[in-house]
């Protein structure tokens, strides 16, 4: 049985500790680093010359900046919600996907966090939303949804990394113990905090891990709602709607699940982790994606009904979103988030790497289009027709979007190579319980 245990953890530990990285990995990293370069470029330009480099104007004061923000937050929240639920339900699947669900959440929220800062007219003053004793003793204006958002996003970053890190400590210890080269050993040793698998430690570790997982649940509900509030609490007819938070939470969920599905497939295929992410796991994930897609579909219907029953301005605004200049985005969103996943009813679809990847991408794209339709499409029909205008994004904005995707990919690649993509102690635990 000892050998059995070995068999389990070795491949997992192999990945991080192996010094000879695969060529594919190197190419992928190179590609994503190029995109990171693009990100640095566009960020730099936007900060140096001003947000005038984007397509924004009056009334379209927000463009890709807030779209990308809402989108990345959705990725993060969906993933953490999923991860947290797995931890709490002690679900078998957690062993397999928890670790990178959390990783996705963390990296997603990092990408998201960029935008609230860079979208400012004077980004170098972003810290003014934090209550510190400033000149003239002016304080932030706490009624503003943007201050709520400041607290939400920072809390999200901290808590997600907590959940992730607490889960990592024992595995870091494992890597420390298996590392051959002293420098690597020191590296992991430092972050393992001297974890020595004491049975006593395990008790507290499990409790803490669980509790943080519990805390994640309300947090992301509030977080996602706060993002929605930034729009819902304004007077813009297309946004001024109490159902918007629900919409953001639900679409965020399908988005996060799809992202997890995507990465699960990629890891399983890329790192040959079939034994850990087995068919049952991806099957379950696919069902979850399908289910949340159905919920999203229901919400789209609800939205239409609500808008058509609302006051004229809101109805006009909604109809403009659905049939106006930006209608394509709305319908593409419906297609990608609601209709495309329906293919998962089909068993072979749930088993195919290609389809899994494509679906993951399509849903993610769909949610982005949904945010575009809400934000840009919402701006277009305001109260005074004299200010009805249009918005066309610029290359700089596109660069920001692609750039953050590159950053996200780069972080994931590094993660897959430096840390166990699947929780090792959990696997050992399962294996022990299976025998018991």
């Amino acid at each position: 049985m000892s050998s059995q245990a070995q068999a389990f953890t070795t491949p997992l530990a192999e990945a991080p500790l192996n010094s000879r990285f695969g060529l594919a990995w190197r190419l992928a990293l190179l590609a994503s680093l190029l995109l990171v370069g693009l990100l640095v470029l566009t960020l730099g330009a936007s900060i140096f010359w001003g947000v005038g480099l984007w397509g924004v104007n009056i009334p379209f004061v927000w463009g890709f900046d807030l779209i990308n923000y809402a989108w990345w937050v959705g990725v993060a929240n969906g993933a953490s919600l999923f991860a947290a639920i797995l931890v709490l339900r002690q679900h078998d699947l957690r062993t397999a996907v928890n670790r990178f669900a959390e990783a996705i959440a963390l990296f997603g929220v990092i990408c998201a966090g960029l935008f609230p800062i860079v979208h400012l007219g004077r980004p170098w003053l972003f810290y003014w939303v934090f209550p510190y004793p400033a000149t003239y003793h002016v304080w932030p204006q706490f009624r503003s949804t943007l201050t709520w958002d400041f607290w939400a996003i920072s809390t999200h970053v901290i808590l997600t990394s907590l959940l992730w890190y607490i889960g990592l400590i024992p595995d870091l210890a494992t890597l420390r113990d298996r590392a051959r080269r002293p420098r690597v050993q020191k590296f992991y040793g430092f972050f393992a905090l001297g974890w020595r698998n004491s049975v006593r430690h395990w008790v507290h570790h499990q409790a803490a891990h669980r509790l943080v997982a519990i805390l994640i649940l309300p947090l992301i509900l509030i977080m996602q709602s706060t993002v929605a509030f930034e729009f819902a609490s304004t007077l813009i007819p297309a946004w001024h709607d109490t159902r918007l938070p629900l919409h953001f939470v639900a679409t965020g969920l399908v988005q996060g699940l799809a992202a997890v599905l995507l990465v699960a497939w990629l890891l399983r295929w890329g790192l040959r982790l079939e034994p850990f992410i087995d068919d049952r796991d991806v099957d379950l994930l696919s069902w979850l994606v399908l289910a949340s897609a159905l919920v999203t579909g229901f919400l789209y219907l609800d939205e239409a009904a609500a808008a058509l029953l609302a006051e004229p301005m809101q109805t006009t605004a909604f109809l403009n979103r659905v049939f106006g200049d930006y209608a394509a985005f709305y319908w593409m969103a419906v297609l990608c988030c609601v209709l495309a996943p329906q293919i998962l009813w089909w068993k072979r679809a749930r088993r195919s790497v290609l389809l899994g990847v494509i679906l993951g991408l399509s849903v993610s794209a769909g949610v982005w289009l949904d945010r575009f339709s809400i934000i840009v499409g919402g701006f277009q029909r305001d109260y005074l027709p004299s200010m009805w205008r249009s918005y066309s994004p610029t290359w700089t904005e596109a660069g920001l979007l692609v750039g953050t995707i590159g950053l996200f990919a780069a972080l994931l690649l590094l993660f897959a190579r430096t840390l166990p993509a699947v929780s090792m102690f959990e696997s050992r635990h399962d294996e022990h319980e299976d025998r018991a």
């Binding site: 010359w49 001003g50 947000v51 005038g52 397509g55 924004v56 104007n57 009056i58 009334p59 379209f60 004061v61 927000w62 979208h119 400012l120 007219g121 004077r122 003053l125 972003f126 003014w128 939303v129 002016v138 304080w139 932030p140 204006q141 009624r143 503003s144 949804t145 943007l146 201050t147 400041f150 930034e230 609490s233 304004t234 007077l235 813009i236 004229p312 301005m313 305001d382 109260y383 005074l384 027709p385 004299s386 200010m387 009805w388 205008r389």
Partner: protein, 966 residues
């Protein structure tokens, strides 16, 4: 200014030192030089000065030279009463001084007050004492202050395009003097546009006398050429008309635009609105017969779109109906009802023909007025303010002479014929054929390029002179600052040639000394203080229709596919303002187009030719053709194209260079205003930039119209239930009321706001992106059929909502409420989330997407209002209710230890408005004008249903009355 050479201290006897009133001169003054080296060593040698040092220098130089700003050694006479002079006790340095002067438009004067500080003009207001202003201004007057500091203005003399010193110029003038004296002016031609200036006329007369062989040419490219001819045919003499719209029950305009382009337009608008406000009398009617939609037409109770060629027939039918009681069968359907109205109104009706109309139409208009007995009540005849130009003094005559080689020397005073002369003369080429041509111009324009010599002309705000207004009243022109550039005024150049001391003030004084004799001093001082010469109004002259007059027989019109109409431009006038960025970026009242012009045609005409806005067409008249983009303008007459003049400048300066297309290329001496031709689509498209794309009046009552008899705007009650407790505003609570029935959409407020609040110009690309910065915009809506729609203008600025949505969403307290209910914008606290704009239902907030204040289109620092902050990149900005003016008034009141009086605070928009559509004041004060207006039943809050409780409310427009009225 430092790149121009220092001046010889009056080398030429005929050019005494005082001619060159400029900083350079003062810098040369040894005492100043010494003082400078002591005080500002860096400035004394600075290559180019920054604003502060420039101000210091001005201040210093003035102080040292013993000149208080705009006074002292000949700069102005005794200081105007409107502003206490520097050296009197009681004047606080740093507070603005006002200088009364006159600005010219098409040869006529408008009285203005120039607001200066430390000798630096930065804002222009109307002169309440001046009949052509009554305290209001138009966009061109407002924009003059920017032109004054135009970086592209001519700074040195040029010979064949090469820079020359003023000594060289002096030598040139000397040789000219000798030549003129030698041949008694033989072979010399002088080109001076018609201007109603007694002093210029005096000097010209002197020149004619001194050099009898020289020939003079006084073209008036914009003159209502038809008017005089019409008057001569109808009355046997040339007259000018001075309408008095306060007396008119019915105004019928035949073309033109009495609110924008006609002589005295500001006064006409003011009188018209005064008449509407007069509760004793029934609402007057304005009926506009026109081809191009005008402001008058937009405001008219009834508007009749007609092809230019049909206007005469229409007028003729009216005349026939009135005089012979025989309305021609083929007459326009509207004629019958209009006749009834004219008869009813009788002497309280007036018919006004536009400047572009042919003599026949003017004659008919005069005849109808005479028949109705309107002369003496609604309109008066006076001697022509601008003497009619005899044919031999017009441009074609000059062209012939040059072609015949009779011209050895040509002096062009302030005109730019190479650009605006009739195209068939090809004047630029002609000027080049003249051996010696001397051009005095403000900028290095097309004519400067064509002439052998170019001399810088000084800005009206830098020199002395006098100008008659449309009603003949004389206003003095006096400097508001020392000359920023060594330059000459036309008067001074003529004096120089006459061998007189070219001192503007002396020349002006000389003109009036003759007339006033003994009490000259008092009257002269008085005129300088008031800006107007009292009792100088032209006497009314009795006119009677010639008994033998009958309408000119109307030859059958040649069939023409298309009528072509040339019009002045609501932004650039005739093109002389092409390099003024404020005006280039000013949305035209009806099209809201900026940074360019377009050929205006009716939607149905366009549809018939498969054209849509932005399509390039070629307009062909005779053998001339010009390519232009089309603009579909609802209400435009069918089968007619209107070509706005003033664009397509080849050498206007960095701003105006090649913006739009040049309509002058089609304009011939024979028919300067109306001709006929064809158009052919070129099949290509260009992007035309406009600030408002949607025309239709919104469903929810944003713009409200009430009937005269039941003027109730309706809408939500003043106080809707709110979850939030009321804030109490002790003391003052500022508010504004905007009368939509008064607004004529003339844009004066927009430019006034821009000038007052340092609103930046962003340029065509940025406007195309939707980033214009105007704090005050005028929304234009159309209603009804596109063939002849109703047009509505609605000024929109920050409403200063008491429950301001913008403030609640700002994370950093950058926009908050003041104790007096102002919606303050704290620039240095703003981080630029732009979410306040999201939450503003009126979308009046403007964002600095780039660093506009230091972009190349930004006005020079000197032109900026020193009382208003410059906004940096990344911050939001918006209307502040001119908070700087509120504080000025508050300070004054505190100094005098009294409360602020109602009407003491006047916002820039309010001050500029000819029709007093804006009222600002304290809504806590029951009896303030604004409170009274807000109590009127016409009062309503835009989007009041949102319950943001805006401090700015509107007075609903009153629907047209009478026949075809609403």
């Amino acid at each position: 200014m430092n790149d121009s050479p220092p001046f010889s201290s009056g080398s030429a006897p005929s050019a005494p030192r005082r001619l060159w009133r400029s900083l350079e001169e003062l810098q040369d003054a040894p005492d100043l030089q010494a003082w400078l080296d002591a005080e500002f060593p860096n400035i004394a040698r600075a290559g180019s000065m920054d604003r502060r040092s420039w101000l210091r220098l001005v201040g210093a130089s003035l102080a040292l030279a013993g000149l208080p700003a705009c006074s002292g050694e000949g700069a102005v006479g005794d200081p105007p009463l409107l502003s206490p002079p520097e050296h009197l006790p009681g004047h606080v340095p740093g507070t603005p001084l006002f200088v009364a002067t006159s600005l010219e438009l098409a040869g006529l004067g408008r009285g203005v007050l120039v607001k200066t500080q430390e000798g630096r003009p930065f804002k222009i207001e109307g002169n309440p004492l001046h009949p052509a202003s009554l305290g209001a201004t138009d966009v061109w007057a407002q924009a003059e202050v920017l032109s004054l500091y135009d970086p592209d203005r001519s700074r040195t003399p040029l010979q064949q395009g090469a820079e020359r010193t003023w000594e060289d110029a002096e030598r040139l003038l000397a040789t000219m003097r000798t030549e003129l004296a030698f041949g008694r002016g033989k072979g010399w031609r002088f080109l001076l546009p018609q201007t109603a200036s007694p002093t210029l006329d005096r000097l010209v007369a002197a020149m004619r006398q001194g050099f009898p062989e020289a020939r003079w040419h006084r073209p008036a490219p914009l003159a209502p050429s038809g008017a005089q001819a019409g008057a001569i045919s109808a009355f046997g003499r040339a007259v000018d008309l001075v309408p008095d719209l306060t007396q008119a029950d019915l105004v019928l305009t035949l073309g033109g635009d009495i609110f924008l382009f006609e002589p005295g337009h500001i006064r006409l608008a003011a009188d018209w609105q005064a008449r509407r406000r007069n509760r004793e009398k029934p609402l007057p009617r304005l009926v506009a017969v026109e081809s191009t939609p005008s402001l008058a037409g937009a405001r008219a109770d009834q508007r009749i779109p007609l092809r230019p060629r049909l206007v005469e027939g229409f007028a003729h039918a009216l005349w026939a109906g009135l005089a012979q009681n025989a309305v021609p069968a083929e007459a326009h359907p509207a004629v019958a009802t209009l006749l009834a109205e004219l008869r009813r109104a009788g002497p309280r009706a007036v018919v006004l023909a536009g400047r572009e109309q042919p003599a026949a139409v003017h004659a008919l208009a005069l005849a109808i007025n005479a028949h109705l007995g309107a002369f003496g009540t609604t309109v008066h005849a006076i001697e022509p303010v601008v003497a009619p130009t005899p044919p031999e003094e017009d441009l074609p005559a000059l062209a012939e002479a040059i072609t015949a080689g009779e011209v050895s020397g040509l002096v062009i005073l302030g005109a730019n014929p190479a650009y605006d002369a009739p195209a068939d003369l090809d004047f630029g080429r002609l000027v080049r054929r003249v051996p010696l041509s001397v051009h005095l111009g403000f900028g290095r324009d097309e004519t400067a390029a064509a002439s052998t010599w170019h001399l810088p002309k000084c800005h009206p705000l830098e020199s002395f002179g006098d100008l008659r207004a449309f009603d003949g009243i004389v206003g003095f022109r006096q400097p508001a600052c020392v000359r920023l550039v060594p330059s000459l005024s036309p008067e001074e150049l003529l004096a120089n040639l006459l061998g007189q001391a070219p001192d503007g003030r002396e020349l002006l004084a000389a003109t009036w000394a003759e007339q006033w004799g003994a009490d000259f001093d008092i009257r002269f001082t008085r005129a300088l203080e008031d800006g107007v010469v009292e009792g100088s109004a032209a006497p009314r002259i009795p006119v009677a229709l010639r008994p033998d007059w009958s309408p000119a027989p109307r030859p059958p019109l040649p069939p023409a596919e298309l009528d072509i109409l040339f019009s002045l431009d609501p932004s650039l006038w005739d093109g002389s303002y092409a390099n003024n960025a404020w005006l280039q970026e000013l949305p035209k009242p009806l099209t809201k187009q900026v940074w360019g012009n377009a050929a205006l045609i009716a939607p149905e005409t366009a549809a018939a030719r498969g054209l849509s806005t932005g399509d390039l067409i070629e307009v062909i008249a005779g053998e001339r053709r010009v390519a232009a983009p089309v603009w579909l303008l609802p209400g435009h007459a069918p089968d007619t194209v209107t070509l706005p003049l003033g664009y397509g400048r080849e050498s206007a300066g960095a701003v105006g260079w090649r913006v739009g297309f040049d309509a002058y290329l089609l304009r011939t001496a024979a028919d300067p205003w109306i001709t006929s031709g064809t158009l052919t689509p070129l099949g290509s498209q260009v992007e035309l930039i406009s600030t408002q794309h949607h025309h239709a009046l919104p469903g929810h009552a944003v713009f409200r119209i009430v009937s005269a008899d039941r003027p109730d705007a309706g809408g939500p009650p003043a106080k809707l239930p709110s979850l939030y407790p009321e804030w109490r505003y002790e003391g003052h609570a500022w508010g504004m009321s905007i009368d939509l029935d008064a607004c004529i959409g003339c844009n004066a407020c927009v430019i006034a706001c821009q000038a007052e609040n340092n609103v930046m110009v962003v340029g065509p690309e940025e406007v195309a992106r939707g980033r214009e910065m105007h704090w005050l915009r005028i929304d234009r809506y159309h209603g009804g059929a596109p063939e002849n729609p109703d047009t509505f203008f609605q000024p929109v600025l920050c409403m200063h909502c008491e429950k301001a949505p913008c403030e609640v969403v700002c994370p950093v307290n950058a926009t908050v409420h003041s104790a007096e209910g102002l919606n303050d914008m704290v620039y240095n606290r703003c981080v630029g989330t732009r979410t306040c704009s999201n939450n503003c239902p009126y979308k009046v907030r403007r964002f600095n997407f780039f660093d506009y204040s230091s972009a190349e289109l930004a006005p020079p620092d000197d032109a900026l209002n020193p009382h208003v902050t410059i906004r940096e990149r990344g911050v939001m900005e918006k209307c502040t209710y001119c908070i700087q003016r509120i504080w000025t008034a508050r300070t004054q009141a505190n100094v005098e230890n009294r409360p602020i009086r109602d009407g003491e605070i006047v916002t820039a928009c309010q001050q500029a408005c000819p029709t007093q559509a804006f009222r600002f004041g304290d809504v806590n004060d029951e009896n303030s004008a604004v409170s009274r207006l807000k109590r009127e039943p016409r009062d309503y809050a835009m989007l009041g249903e949102l319950n943001t409780q805006p401090r700015t409310t509107y007075l609903a427009r009153i629907a047209p009355t009478g026949e075809n009225g609403g």
